[in-house]
């Protein structure tokens, strides 16, 4: 492993769970040093110690809530002060979920926009001077496949991800001259945590087979980024959906997307994770 001589770091936000965790492991397995940012909690430290022991690379862990502006400034200040050389930035932290617009507290949308949109833009803005110091550097932003489909219950989430998509594509052209490669990842449904795993398992056959594990998505994402792909869509099923989306008539698509996760709500999954069966909660409701 040449990491001892290699002083560059890959910064990954939202690294303690799901895709962020899988990307951290994928990067480390290729001998890259990782700078992991996540919400406070034991999982981040467990992951950091696992990576250190298994892959013998350098690992920094930084606990913070990136939805707050002050924390992003502190993080960038820390990197600058400690002279940590970042040559890859992976803006992965985000809040997902399917909710009805009028049933959700406004604060949820506020946090969602702060984290998905503002944190990505702000962190990119703050760390771009650091990235430019390297002759070649990379930015990976995580959007979503749902930006092509306009699914129900994804209003704000889908809009934040569309923002990321536009932002990345435009920025890519702008930063070409500086040797900074920008890619945008558009994954479909992922089993990123226990509730998503259950949600996909209990959905229809199509959703179930298209759902990917984060550890399947991570290598595709990293390869795409290093090869300079503009937009990365992992999974053959997802590419099939996207292809058919262009061919199918509107009414049929309408029908298909309406069936998407129709029977299970996030609330029911939460109950199930606490050991309460779905059937009973349905009756109770």
């Amino acid at each position: 492993m040449n990491s001892a001589f290699n002083d560059t770091f890959t910064l990954i936000t939202g690294a303690s769970e799901g895709l962020g965790k899988a990307l951290a492991i994928e990067c480390a397995s290729k001998g890259m040093n990782v700078f992991l940012v996540a919400l406070p909690g034991i999982e981040l430290y467990q992951l950091a110690s696992y990576i250190r022991r298994k892959y013998k690379v350098l690992v920094c862990e930084f606990e913070t809530d990136l939805s707050l502006e002050m924390n992003r400034i502190t993080l960038a200040g820390f990197i600058k002060k400690q002279q940590i050389n970042i040559n890859m930035l992976i803006n992965n932290a985000g809040i997902g979920g399917s909710v009805n617009f009028d049933e959700c507290a406004f604060d949820f949308f506020k946090t969602q926009i702060s984290l998905n949109v503002l944190a990505t833009v702000h962190l990119t803005y703050l760390l771009l001077p650091e990235l430019k110091k390297n002759s070649r550097s990379y930015i990976l932003n995580v959007s979503s496949l749902c930006i092509f489909f306009y699914l129900v219950k994804k209003q704000v989430y889908g809009a934040t991800k569309s923002f990321i998509h536009f932002f990345s594509k435009s920025l890519k052209k702008e930063l070409k001259k500086d040797g900074v490669t920008v890619s945008v990842l558009c994954p479909g449904g992922m089993n990123s945590n226990p509730s998503f795993y259950l949600l996909h398992q209990m959905s229809n056959w199509m959703t179930r087979s298209a759902a990917m594990d984060p550890e399947e998505v991570a290598p595709v994402a990293l390869n795409g980024l290093i090869n300079g792909k503009e937009i990365i869509i992992p999974g053959k099923w997802n590419r099939v959906f996207l292809f058919f989306d262009k061919l199918l008539p509107g009414w049929l698509k309408e029908k298909m997307t309406a069936r998407h996760i129709k029977s299970i709500s996030a609330q029911q999954i939460a109950l199930l994770l606490k050991g309460k069966p779905i059937a009973e909660t349905k009756n109770a409701a």
Binding site: Q46, S49, Y50, K54, E215, L272, I278
Partner: protein, 333 residues
Amino acid sequence: MKILVTGASGYIGNKLTHALAERGHNIHALVRSPSSADLLRHQNIRVFVGDIMDPDSLAVAMKDCRQVYHAAALAKLWDRNRNNFYKINVGGTENVLQAALKEGVSKLVYTSSCGVWAPDEDHIYTENDPRISSFDSDYDLSKYLAEKLVREYCYKGLFTVIVNPPRVYGPGLERYSNAVNRFITQILNKKIIPLPWNLDTKANYTFIDDVINGHILAMEKGLGGERYILGGENISYKKMVDTIAAYSGRKPVFVRIPPAMIQTWAWMELAIAKLSLYEPSFTPRLAKRIQLSKMVDSSKAIRQLGYRITAFEEGMQTTIDHLKSKNYELRFQ
């Protein structure tokens, strides 16, 4: 001292109940079926018919108990209703924890599993390791969620310790969860044994008596909110079948099955199970898992609890003698 054991008619729970009774404790054994009383005949064991899903029966069984061993679980590969895994293993565990907190139990040991970690070819797991890849089984996920709950209750004031046994073998009741004994029985009774293609695949096998001692040691010395791997040796399939063949004196023909064929076979079993009342002996996720290594390290339990590992050969010898002496027949086919 009065001690409650849940799952007292299970493979681990039953042995644990008897081991504790032998030490002179008064054991409250919680079982679902009155017929299980036959398995618990001992002057120090009092059988309580109840269910972890029924908080009232739990409260009755837990009355005046100072310690609780929670070993009850739905320990299966597959269930027609996947909700049952969460209902019983997570919801049932919460019932036990709640009752214990209410009763003022001084310490609770929870029997988890090494299924909370994912297979990994070249990493030896310790207690501090995170879950690396996604869950692919409802059982594993339910155990992971239950562990989270058990740790949460530690903050609520209940002294809890978690133990994680890997694949357990050795003399005991024949139960569905007892896969290694079932495999040995097959070698004793059958002429052709299918094996995975890669015989270097390693897993951890632990002798039942060690697991029982580990539970009791965790109760005596375990630190609050901590987990302890109660493992044995990390052994490859090759070493395992060689050892079993050597000690049993049988020489069946071992046939290595290519991965694609194992997978197809498993999907077929699952398809049949979905269409009939038949319970699959084999599922696609088990097929995937038996072809991947998972190694664990028990040094934390050795260091902090004084846990001891029986040598694999010694444990296997005892197990094979036991299975042979019982004139054991294939009961799982």
